[in-house]
Symmetry: C2
Subunit: 322 residues, 2 copies
Amino acid sequence: MTNNNFDSKAFRTALGTFTTGVTIITATAQDGTPVGITANSFNSVSLDPPLVLWSLAKNANSLPVFTESKFWNVHVLSVEQEALSGRFASRGEDKFAGLELDEGLTTAPLLPNCTARFQCRTAFMHDGGDHIIFIGEVLGFDQSAHPPLVFQSGQYALAALKPREEVRLTRSEPPPECSYTEDLLGYLLGRAHFQLVNRLQVLLNEQGLDQPQFFILSVLCIRDGLTLDDINEYIAYTGSAVDLADMELLIKGGHVVIEQGRYRLTADGREASLHQIAQAKAVEQDVVEALGLGDAMALKLLLKRVIGSTDPGLPDLWSVPA
Amino acid sequence: MTNNNFDSKAFRTALGTFTTGVTIITATAQDGTPVGITANSFNSVSLDPPLVLWSLAKNANSLPVFTESKFWNVHVLSVEQEALSGRFASRGEDKFAGLELDEGLTTAPLLPNCTARFQCRTAFMHDGGDHIIFIGEVLGFDQSAHPPLVFQSGQYALAALKPREEVRLTRSEPPPECSYTEDLLGYLLGRAHFQLVNRLQVLLNEQGLDQPQFFILSVLCIRDGLTLDDINEYIAYTGSAVDLADMELLIKGGHVVIEQGRYRLTADGREASLHQIAQAKAVEQDVVEALGLGDAMALKLLLKRVIGSTDPGLPDLWSVPA
């Protein structure tokens, strides 16, 4: 299993399995030009004195600025700053164009909206092969609530935090003869979905509507003036279909009208649908609060990937009609 | 926003927002005693020559061994090695008890089943405040398919990788007047769930069963001999209830028998349910292949947290009956 031949690509790939955050490190040249580069070689070193380190390739354009400048700032990027990471990872000329800067303790540029920032003064520089290792004394730092961006195996990522206690839904092991476990993805997806729907169901009960009617109103709220066939095409992903009786009930309830075979929401129907959206968003907000923003974003990302990988080829409900 | 007073706890918290992997670093004392510690201060330094670094507290018990030993191994831990991380993070005496070791290039202990390993010889040691920075020349390395363990803000985590292309379900923007978006958690959970269920539905159609009947068989497969009330309690999370007519159909189909008001699976009923489980597992396997094992584990973790945070207090289906 051990590789003695230094295949540089394989070495880089193996190193890439070590997960990191993403930072942008900035300094100002003696002529006042701001420089900045994306780096994931950052790490903490010492609490007392407060020291951090990172390393920079000897062939980097910005090396002379960093070796000559006493001061540099480390910005731990948030998940919203992926584009900024890309900008500072490129060799582009004017990386700071259009960026507003915060006031810092030193001459080094201080970028806003980061997860955390460390304003440093060079303490030591060490030779590190094809890189220079910069060790900085931290003069000041701050932190925000923005969830941090993650980098693993050459890809950006979000972290799904593991609570300190193992997440188990039950208090005991399942019977040994049982081939079902609470770890089955279909069960987990189903139960999470049903529990979220149950909170929406309270509102639907008040509105005197059932789930198929909810689907119809949702589709008509996104795009009005559909035939029954259109509606069924858009809700095909639910595995159920609606029929004229469902539509008739919505017409009787004053939610929908039919004109030349096409259904439209009434003002009441639109209001009912908007209430449902508001309720769905309130339920989501509770989940975001329970999980944390970063984890909620990770969940949505993963669900989109599940949907993409299992999509039977459904019509594009969200696209603007041609 | 800048904190000049070195509140050591706040500094540590801010540093913790920089995500890392988790490593165990091992060496062997001159008397042959193996030592090892958990560290997240690892990082790559140089490709040519191949160098990596990590830092160790000056007050660590193992410091003399690492400063005297020429050789040490860095093990990038996998998500399955969280317990090992905990073991080597403690001050326990016999951290290597019961561990099988692989044959390495040097005297340093080489742990199996890691995401990646780097076998190193000390190239430089530098003073780093309350830590010593070890820079090692990499003599050999290897990598496995085990997804790596992540550490962020004091918690273990799994990475949810972002594909290089943004994950969008649709090819176009929704109409601007629409308050629904494809980013709504309830929609994403519902659609992912429905699409998975649709593949199970193919089998159910062949078996002549509907979803309520599927729920009944599943519950009876996990725990047999339930009353109708028991069954409804266990499937309450689905938001629907079953009745005597559903049970009667299952009895007529030869899947279920009733004895003194309690329902039991027949051999045919159990076989039908086991087929359903096998199908659900096959669907899950496809999702795992599409997402990757680490991302699939992250998804399950997050779904369990959603379920836990929205659980209305359901009975424990999986527990062994008292």
